[in-house]
């Protein structure tokens, strides 16, 4: 059937079962929006800034496991996506992004709204395309969805010049993908799987170190089964949180820089470290020499390049962690490790995760209560900073894909737009955004998108009138010289919310948490809660730079 490339593109999206597209129109992408006008299947979310579009697509992808789709025009539209693309790349989130481009004849002439987004995004995409041959568009879209969602997921960008979008082709969506340079390995090597089973059998003190790869592979059930079968405690990376039930007796919480001390001590004392879909990030390992010094390391990952990148491992295994665990589990027998688990219990007792309730309304208390009121079952989006770490420490996630947060890039401003995408993706489940007074102001224009889409997002601002995480760094590394972290002006967040028609509350005490937080959560639509918390509160524990994870200090 003959149609324009723009129309073909929309047909491709329909074939990929895309339900939501997040975007912002403009000149160069005009033909695509014109084609979108006629689609009855695809709904478009008009954001307030392109960064909001890519973060929203990202949030949608995180909760659904599907590919998030995003559109923007050429030039500034495209460059506004860059931060969000880098964010998705760092956290391995599947996205397909379309950018308009000036006509092929104008490329390279510094035309109006021309930037080389193909070149700009090359280091932060899994793959990208500049479409020059109209005939190739359907195959390119097919490839893009395949590349984005398989292997180690990631963002794929398609740059579409306007004249290409307007040219006519006969449309046929390919049924297969032909990519001779892209063939991820899924099945783990059987001999390695036997070797791993043997190491687990021999181990006295195993620890499972599970990262975002568990969520990417939808392997939470297999992880739980592995932990319970071999009686091994589980620690999560930040990206791995929600892949293991937060209230499970084998759960150690997060490890690393702001991890629980008992998780860090368990890793330090273990004789076998089973790394599943984790990449030994510097915020996890801290001083590498002091990381799991007594352990034999098993590293299972879909990305061969992650294996041996930071630490040398005893048993490397490339493949899909779900398939590998399914092959491994039948080889393992139920093991009793009461001595090791007794030691873990001792560590938990010796180094509990605590904070001082005195001295004002503590942010940790707010998160604890939020977890209690939502039974750990809400989808929680966060921004980046202290509040994010308090969520990681005190919100006990029960279900996979319920934490939506920027891990690798640490991207402030991610929270609100990501919550928009997460809310659309989670079909009416409560979505809570925990943010800070710094982060929210980076992308708060998306309150407009949230209201337009009638999304019942509950926004909790842990407002300490400072950039708390940077302040904490300055306290420890700059001898308390607080430079450019304290806000001398804030809008009245309650009145700001009210300007958008959002019911808003201010909470200043524990009593108000108990009365007003449930009220806000019970609102049928959105709500905003401005929690006034002390400026001086630190994220604790903390491992200082250059130290091992066994040397965490209490800095509350």
């Amino acid at each position: 059937m003959e149609m324009t490339v723009a129309e073909a593109l929309i047909r491709c999206l329909e074939k990929e079962n895309v339900e939501w597209v997040f975007g912002y129109p403009g000149g160069a992408i005009l033909p695509v929006y014109d084609a979108l006008y006629h689609s009855s299947q695809i709904r478009h979310v008009l954001v307030r800034h392109e960064q909001g579009a890519v973060h929203a697509a990202d949030g949608y992808a995180r909760v659904t496991g599907k590919v998030g789709v995003c559109m923007a025009t050429s030039g500034p539209g495209a460059t506004n996506l860059v931060t969000g693309i880098a964010n998705a790349y760092m956290d391995s989130i599947p996205l397909v992004l379309f950018t308009g481009q000036v006509s092929t004849g104008q490329i390279g002439t510094d035309a109006f709204q021309e930037v080389d987004i193909f070149g700009i995004t090359m280091p932060i995409v899994k793959h990208n395309y500049l479409v020059k041959d109209p005939q190739k568009l359907p195959a390119i879209v097919k490839n893009a969805f395949h590349i984005a969602s398989t292997g180690r997921p990631g963002p794929v960008l398609i740059d579409l010049p306007r004249d290409v979008a307007e040219s006519r082709i006969s449309f046929k969506y390919p049924s297969t993908v032909r990519l001779r340079g892209y063939k991820p390995t899924y099945r783990g090597h059987p001999s390695k799987i036997h070797e791993i089973a043997e190491l687990i059998r021999k181990s006295e003190r195993p620890v499972i170190y599970a990262g975002g790869g568990i969520l990417g592979a939808n392997a939470a059930a297999e992880l739980l089964q592995l932990a319970e079968t071999i009686s091994a405690p589980v620690t999560n990376t930040f990206m791995g949180l929600a892949s293991f039930p937060g209230d499970h007796p084998l759960f150690l919480g997060m490890l690393g820089l702001h991890g629980t001390r008992y998780a860090n001590m368990a890793v330090t004392e273990c004789d076998l470290l089973i790394a599943l879909g984790a990449r030994f990030d510097d915020r996890v390992t801290m001083k590498i020499k002091a990381f799991a010094p007594k352990a034999t390391v098993i590293h299972i990952d879909i990305d061969p390049a992650e294996i041996g990148k930071i630490v040398s491992v005893s048993v490397p295994l490339v493949g899909d962690v779900k398939l590998i665990l399914k092959d491994l589990l039948p080889l393992l027998e139920k093991t009793d490790r009461s001595r090791w688990l007794a030691r873990i219990a001792e560590l938990k007792k010796q180094y509990p995760l605590t904070y001082d309730r005195e001295g004002g309304l503590k942010p940790q208390y707010v998160i604890e209560k939020l977890c209690e009121f939502t039974r750990g079952e809400a989808v929680v989006a966060t921004d980046v900073g202290q509040h994010q770490m308090w969520v990681a420490q005190y919100y006990r996630f029960k279900r996979p894909r319920t934490l939506v947060s920027s891990g690798g890039l640490g991207c402030m401003g991610f929270g609100l737009p990501a919550a928009v995408g997460a809310c659309l993706g989670s079909r009416g489940q409560p979505v809570i955004l925990v943010t800070g007074d710094g982060s929210i102001q980076m992308t708060m224009q998306e309150l407009g998108t949230m209201m337009e889409q009638e999304l019942p997002i509950k926004i909790l601002i842990l407002n300490n009138h400072t950039l708390g995480m940077v302040r904490q760094l300055q306290e420890f590394y700059c001898e308390g010289r607080y430079m450019s972290v304290n806000f001398r002006f804030h809008p009245d967040f309650v009145r700001l919310a009210e300007a958008y028609g959002i019911p808003a509350y201010t909470i200043t005490s524990e009593e108000e948490v108990l009365s007003l937080l449930p009220a806000a959560l019970a609102e049928p639509g959105p709500a905003l809660v401005n929690c006034l918390v002390p400026r001086e509160e630190n994220v604790s524990p903390m491992v200082l730079a250059g130290r091992g994870i066994d040397e965490a200090i209490d800095c509350s």
């Binding site: 193909f118 070149g119 090359m122 280091p123 899994k126 793959h127 500049l130 020059k132 590349i147 990519l179 001779r180 340079g181 892209y182 063939k183 390995t185 090597h189 390695k192 990305d303 061969p304 390049a305 041996g308 990148k309 040398s312 490397p316 295994l317 490339v318």
Partner: protein
């Protein structure tokens, strides 16, 4: 140790930028890089020389593998292979010195490709060592200009590292 990687890539726009950019941002150093078309119109071959220990080369190779446009990588360092570089050298040569310089060129089987009033230009092919030696031999006369290609390499005998041959893109696990 210097490693010679023979890399088959899609002959698509931006592929050189992808490879070069990857080396730059991962902090890998390229010793030399030569790229050109192969017997297949849609496939190019890059011959990349990289210096580093085993772990470093492994990381380079694995990162290269992640590029969708990279079809196949062979580390041919320990294989039997033929390799060549091409150099063109413009050397200062008074008419009285020409015979002497021609004699040196003859030893290296270099050919004179241009003659100026006070210069001579030679082309020479060979492996890196030979090219280096030729350059050093001409240095005393005064090298005015020098241009050198990267190394290209090919396996000896009936063995070849083509798209469909033997060891595929998947890296062997240690």
């Amino acid at each position: 140790m210097k490693h010679t990687l023979s890399v088959l890539v899609e002959n698509s726009p931006g592929v050189l930028t992808r490879v070069a950019g990857l080396f730059a941002r991962r902090g890998f150093n390229i010793d030399s890089l030569a790229v050109g078309r192969t017997e297949k119109h849609d496939v190019s071959r890059m011959t990349i020389v990289v210096e580093g220990d085993h772990r470093y080369i492994e990381q380079v190779t694995k990162q290269l593998h992640k590029l969708v446009d990279v079809i196949k990588i062979s580390d041919i360092t320990t294989e039997e292979y033929v390799d060549r570089e091409l150099v063109m050298i413009k050397v200062a040569a008074e008419p009285s010195q020409r015979v002497e310089i021609m004699h040196i060129a003859g030893i290296f089987r270099a050919r004179a490709v241009d003659l100026g009033r006070k210069t001579m230009t030679f082309e020479c092919t060979g492996n890196e060592g030979k090219i280096n030696a030729f350059e050093e031999s001409l240095r005393p006369y005064g090298i005015k200009e020098l241009v050198r290609t990267g190394k290209v390499a090919m396996l000896r005998g009936t063995r070849f590292s083509g798209v469909d041959s033997g060891a595929s893109k998947e890296m062997k696990e240690e």
